[in-house]
């Protein structure tokens, strides 16, 4: 379908100042595991890959990790009391308050004079773009030193795939049986508009890019936001072995663009450069037809989404030229 992980991924990636060199191969990523075996993630879960690399990257900074998990799949993946699959101190939060609880954690650490901790708040798209956006907006506006990660499976997948603000147009969910009519809410751009020091988009199909973005985020003081597209085999209805390919297709079709905004400077990430800058775009139909959630989509709808993607890519091309997202 799409070529396997290759050189394209890290080509042109810049090293993070003071944080060591860019890893070239997966084998260079620390072998320590903080997501333990026996966790209750579904087969083929790509969100778990994102969490796994977040915790590895945090470890690589030499600092401690404090993880907050919103009400989402990643709480279920911990397993059931008295067990937990996460080998870092972890605070599970209510749905709307992952970012505000993280504010409290960060303030407490500050009060204790501890500067050796990476605070990571991990929440799904429902908990981020819908119910939690107020707490998130407030927390980043206040400038807390933490990383907020939204792993985006484009629906309320934990409750059985209901429509969220992040669901793409035409996707069938249990609450949009005829397909969603509206666009996907673009929270990374909303976060960038807050003027915070670091915003990035990522996808676990490009683990080195993902890992380097975590590392970069941890090297920056203040609020950081990473939005990760995590294809969900259960809700998107594709075979569990195809998660990585589905993420690659999302990027190659331009349905998902990888970039960073660091201190206001916009930078396309290597996997998206060929798509945005060179126009090397896979037709969106390939992506849509590969997933059960788009079953029944009409040719006109495919055409409409294709147009929307071209508009987006044009927008990113301009952003790349002026090196500013806004």
């Amino acid at each position: 379908m799409v070529e396997v992980l290759g050189k394209e991924e890290h080509e042109g990636m810049e090293a993070v100042g003071g944080e060591g060199k860019v890893v070239k191969w997966l084998a260079e990523i620390p072998a320590d595991e903080y997501v333990l075996k026996g966790n209750s993630a579904c087969a083929g879960c790509t969100a778990m890959i994102a969490l796994r690399y977040a915790l590895k990257a945090s470890r690589a900074t030499g600092r401690k990790t404090l993880l907050l998990v919103g009400a989402c799949c990643m709480v279920v993946c911990e397993g059931v009391y008295p067990n937990t699959a996460y080998n870092v101190p972890t605070l599970d939060t209510a749905f709307a308050c992952t970012a505000s609880m993280a504010s409290g954690v960060e303030a407490a650490l500050k009060s204790f004079g501890r500067r050796d901790v990476n605070v990571i708040a991990f929440a799904g798209d429902g908990g981020t773009v819908d119910i939690g956006i107020q707490a998130l907006s407030g927390a980043v506006e206040r400038g807390h030193n933490f990383l907020y990660v939204c792993y985006d499976n484009e629906a309320y997948c934990n409750t059985g795939m209901q429509r969220s603000g992040a669901t793409p147009p035409c996707a069938r969910t249990t609450t949009t049986p005829g397909g969603k009519r509206e666009k996907k809410k673009d929270v990374p751009r909303i976060m960038a508009a807050h003027g915070i020091p670091y915003v990035a988009t990522a996808c676990p199909s490009y683990p080195i890019d993902l890992y380097e973005k975590f590392k970069r985020a941890f090297s920056i003081e203040g609020p950081k936001y990473i939005h990760i597209l995590t294809p969900c085999p259960v809700s998107w209805r594709f075979p569990t072995s195809k998660g990585v390919e589905m993420g690659k297709l999302a990027v190659r079709t331009g349905m998902w663009t990888l970039y960073e905004v660091e201190h206001g400077v916009f930078r396309l990430s290597p996997p998206s450069r060929r798509v945005v800058l060179r126009g090397d775009v896979v037709p969106v139909e390939k992506y849509l037809r590969a997933q059960g959630r788009f079953n029944g989509i009409t040719d006109e709808e495919v055409e409409r989404i294709q147009k929307m993607v071209y508009q987006e890519l044009e927008w990113f091309k301009e952003a790349a030229a002026r090196r500013k997202l806004w």
Binding site: L66, V76, G104
Partner: protein
């Protein structure tokens, strides 16, 4: 040498108490009539007099969430709210008690909308009597100060580890200035040991707070909460005795006013109980044997109340409520009636619903209602 007596509002008194407790983190959102508490605290923090991390949250839900986050790290925390803000943080209020976090909150009681009303009403807090928080209701500026000072010690006691709420009624207490005798900082430092939350997150032995919990464990969490709430009753009495040794001021779960030979016993909370005391004095002059039993502590429902009721000989009970459970009755009245049943006592009970939404309740009116021998439920003004 610090001044020993000042003349301040209820709100400032609470802020002064919090300053002595030196919380690691304060997270609060302004709402009338609580605003002065968060303003005064912000001033203390900005001037450096108080070394707390002050989080200017964007909502009350986030205020309590931030308190929970900080307390989960082992921090001493404080927040203050009122009315709609209180209800807006509702989810987190329950979360705090189930998580067994010793968060201290001042709630400036105010009516609920629609029909914006900023005046005193206890429905905000009393409708949350099942939230698993220790609840105090205060009746003077001094008491709001002293109770806040004690609240940190009670909440953080290893036998308790429960969030604690200090209620003071909007305007009639929050904005009224009264003389306030201050507690010496060094003495209070001895009174309040450093906070230690045994289940706080740490990096030495990582654990997870709040994982999925199955039916075979969940009820045990709830049982544990109740067990500690019951234990809190004795701890509170112990802390009140120790506070008396430090300050010379005596508090109890129930405060008796001319009760011992009373034939009629008025039971009330907060400032309405104080108003009832004035009415009581006047009626005593007219030869009526009447007394006022003021409940300071609604949760845990105090054993001391039951003991007093058993001991006192009054046959007629008048219960004043500034909060109502629609379709049922005055909240305090119904709680007292249930306890009388437990004790096997049959008393004549009159329930007065008064002061809702800041309705003015002068002591003369109370006097009249006390003398009206009819029982049942009476709504003042209706």
């Amino acid at each position: 040498m610090q001044e020993e007596e000042v003349f301040v509002t209820g709100n400032e008194a609470v802020a002064r108490a919090v300053k002595l407790a030196k919380p690691n983190v304060i997270a609060a959102y302004p709402i009338t009539p609580q605003t002065e508490i968060v303003e005064v605290l912000a001033r203390y923090v900005e001037s450096g007099e108080l070394k707390s991390e002050y989080i200017h949250v964007e909502s009350e839900h986030s205020a309590m969430a931030a308190c929970i986050g900080a307390a989960s790290m082992g921090a001493r925390v404080f927040t203050a709210t009122s009315s709609h803000g209180f209800l807006y943080m509702c989810e987190m209020i329950f979360w705090a008690s189930i998580a067994r976090l010793p968060i201290v909150m001042a709630n400036v009681n105010r009516a609920l909308g629609p029909g914006w009303n900023i005046w005193a009403d206890l429905k905000d807090a009393m409708s949350h009597r099942d939230a698993g928080w220790i609840q105090f209701y205060t009746a003077s500026v001094q008491e709001a100060y002293d109770t806040t000072l004690m609240a940190f010690r009670i909440a953080e006691d290893q036998r308790v580890m429960l969030p604690t709420m200090v209620n003071l009624e909007g305007f009639v207490l929050s904005h009224v200035m009264q003389p306030l005798r201050l507690v010496d900082e060094a003495e209070y430092d001895r009174f309040l040991p450093p906070v230690r939350i045994p289940h706080a997150l740490n990096f030495e032995r990582p654990h997870t707070l709040g994982t999925l919990i199955s039916p075979e464990h969940n009820y045990l969490v709830q049982y544990d909460n109740n067990r500690c709430m019951r234990a809190a009753d004795d701890v509170i009495a112990e802390v009140e005795r120790e506070f008396e040794r430090m300050s010379g001021r005596r508090y109890g779960a129930v405060m008796k006013y001319r009760c011992d030979d009373a034939e009629t016993l008025v039971i009330a909370m907060g400032t309405l109980a104080k108003e009832a005391e004035v009415a009581c004095d006047s009626l005593r002059e007219k030869g009526e044997k009447i007394g006022v039993l003021r409940l300071r502590q609604l949760r845990p429902f105090p054993k001391a109340f039951l003991e007093e009721v058993k001991r006192l000989t009054a046959e007629r009970f008048i219960i004043i409520d500034r909060a109502y459970s629609s379709g049922y009755g005055g909240i305090l009245a119904e709680e007292v009636k249930a306890k009388l049943y437990d004790l096997g006592l049959k008393k004549e009970v009159k329930s007065i619903i008064a002061g809702l939404g800041g309705q003015d309740v002068p002591h003369e009116a109370l006097e009249k209602m006390f003398m009206d021998k009819r029982g049942g439920e009476v709504w003042f003004g209706v």
